[in-house]
């Protein structure tokens, strides 16, 4: 029976990309993330689920030091990417964010042309030596964002003129243009219709061939569909972290069971 192709969603790598130990986050006196230990795998989509205010977005923002931009936020503990402490004083947060890309809830293209939206990151990080190389990078990123065919004839038009779903895929293209190793997505589909959502989800599945993708989502169904690993957060704790199929068919913690079956929120 071993000759049968295993189901798609089984995780096929065990390489740890991001590792957090005893991670704490405080907003002033509020203890938002408590003792989170987690190993996020490479070439895997990992979903963070949990009720509003459970800390899933806060924890996601620790992974590229976005919390540095909030004055009252304080992060303790250890977060390593590829065994390198990202909170080390030697680490430049701007360089880190080139390596750890992010896509937000609302599509937020720059008020520039479609081309410039994607070219901006590679330009400031000096990834292209000339126009031809930059063109190549832009095309590749737009292809990875599964939007190339729709925009290739109007690259000079403003990115803000696209539909919501197209804007979000443009933002994904922009995020992958700097060749990140990790892609963080905070509610990337909540402003999209079901078809655009399905397209972005299919895109995530393709992106995981090359990246470690971490997604925060309010939709448990979305977590179930796109991820291979799921982490359930509740009241700042990481309650359960396991293979997605296991979380949705046989969770170990009663709090996880209550949440995914719609009994607590």
């Amino acid at each position: 029976m071993n000759d049968m192709r295993p189901l798609e969603r089984i995780v096929d790598t065990e390489t740890v990309k991001i590792s957090a130990r005893k991670c704490q986050v405080f907003y002033g006196d509020t203890h938002a993330i408590k003792d989170v230990d987690v190993d996020i795998l490479d070439k895997t989509v990992t979903a963070f689920i949990g009720p509003s205010g459970c800390g899933k977005s806060t924890f996601l923002r620790c992974l590229n030091r976005m919390n540095d931009t909030i004055d009252v936020a304080r992060v303790e503990g250890e977060i390593k990417i590829d065994d390198e402490d990202i909170y080390d004083t030697k680490v430049d947060p701007v360089q880190l964010r080139a390596k750890v890309g992010m896509v937000f809830q609302k599509p937020n293209p720059f008020p520039k042309s479609i081309y410039d939206n994607v070219a901006y990151g590679p330009k400031i990080h000096g990834l292209a030596r000339n126009k031809a190389e930059l063109d190549e990078i832009v095309e590749k990123a737009l292809r990875r964002g599964a939007i190339w065919d729709e925009v290739k004839d109007r690259l000079s038009e403003p990115g803000t003129g696209l539909s919501g779903g197209q804007q979000q895929r443009l933002c994904i293209a922009r995020a992958v243009a700097t060749e990140p190793e990790v892609l963080l997505m905070d509610e990337p589909c909540s402003a999209l219709d079901p078809i655009a959502t399905a397209q972005v989800e299919e895109l995530m599945d393709e992106l995981r061939q090359s990246y470690s993708v971490v997604i925060v989502t309010h939709s448990m169904q979305q977590a179930a569909r796109v991820s291979q690993r799921t982490a359930f957060f509740h009241l700042g704790y990481l309650v359960e972290y396991d293979e997605t199929g296991t979380i949705f068919t046989n969770p170990k913690d009663p709090r996880t069971e209550s949440y995914i079956t719609g009994r607590i929120g």
């Binding site: 029976m1 049968m4 189901l7 798609e8 078809i195 399905a198 299919e202």
Partner: protein, 238 residues
């Protein structure tokens, strides 16, 4: 309607589950043919193989159940996808039962090889098993092709299996009345014939699932039932 989901992994999951049903069906077909052959030839070695292979069929059923549960939990299938998952679960259950019957036939080969032989019984049983095996093959084809017409045809062919069972039933009864030494053989042979008749019912159920899968509802008409043995008695016919 496009055949493909935007989420291509969903298509791959559904295909993988259905590939397992086909694999299971192939194993059950082989078990039916093998069991009948072992019986006719008194081939104990073949019977042992059939018995041992049933574990693989049971294993597949378990796996299909797990994967269906997973698909329901992760994908929330709707419409034809939902019917696919529901029918896969029922069909795997039918196939598992058929595997058990084949195993039971193989188990009786040992006793029957020792017992008083009944002329022609082995051949009749083999023909009946062959008929069920062909029905199963067609039912699985109908499933893959989503062919409701073929499925409808299979439902009606089960009547032939019922008639074969009726005639074997009367035949065994006659043998037993003629000579009590035939009782052991005939009792076992009767269980075997009954098992094959039940297999035919399971194939019919698979065919009905195909109709449900394609048309969205089970067939409304009652299919002709020709198993009359519930009304038989041992008195000679007047």
């Amino acid at each position: 309607m496009s055949d493909q989901h935007i989420a291509s992994a969903y298509d791959r999951d559904l295909e993988a589950i259905q590939a397992q049903i086909m694999k299971m069906g192939g194993l059950v077909e082989a078990a039916i043919v093998g069991a009948a052959e072992s019986l006719e030839k008194g081939d104990l070695e073949l019977a042992e193989t059939i018995i041992a292979k049933d574990a693989a069929i049971d294993g597949l059923e378990e796996r299909i159940n797990e994967e269906c549960a997973r698909a329901i939990a992760l994908r929330q299938p709707t419409a034809s996808d939902l019917r696919t998952i529901l029918t896969v679960m029922k069909i795997s259950n039918n196939l598992e039962r058929m595997g058990d019957y084949a195993k039971n036939i193989a188990k009786r080969t040992g006793v029957l090889a020792q017992a008083h032989p009944i002329d022609g019984a082995g051949g009749s049983i083999r023909r009946m098993a062959r008929q069920v095996e062909l029905m199963l093959k067609d039912a699985l084809d109908a499933y893959i092709q989503r062919d409701a017409e073929l499925a409808q045809d299979i439902r009606h062919r089960d009547g032939d299996v019922d008639q074969m069972y009726n005639s074997l039933f009367r035949n065994f009864l006659t043998h037993m009345m003629e000579d009590p030494r035939n009782i052991t053989s005939c009792m076992h042979l009767h269980f075997i014939a009954k098992n094959i008749e039940r297999m035919g019912d399971h194939v019919t159920s698979i065919a009905e699932q195909v109709i449900y899968l394609v048309e969205g509802e089970l067939p409304g008409d009652d299919r002709p039932k020709r198993d009359r043995t519930s009304y038989e008695n041992a008195e000679p016919h007047a």
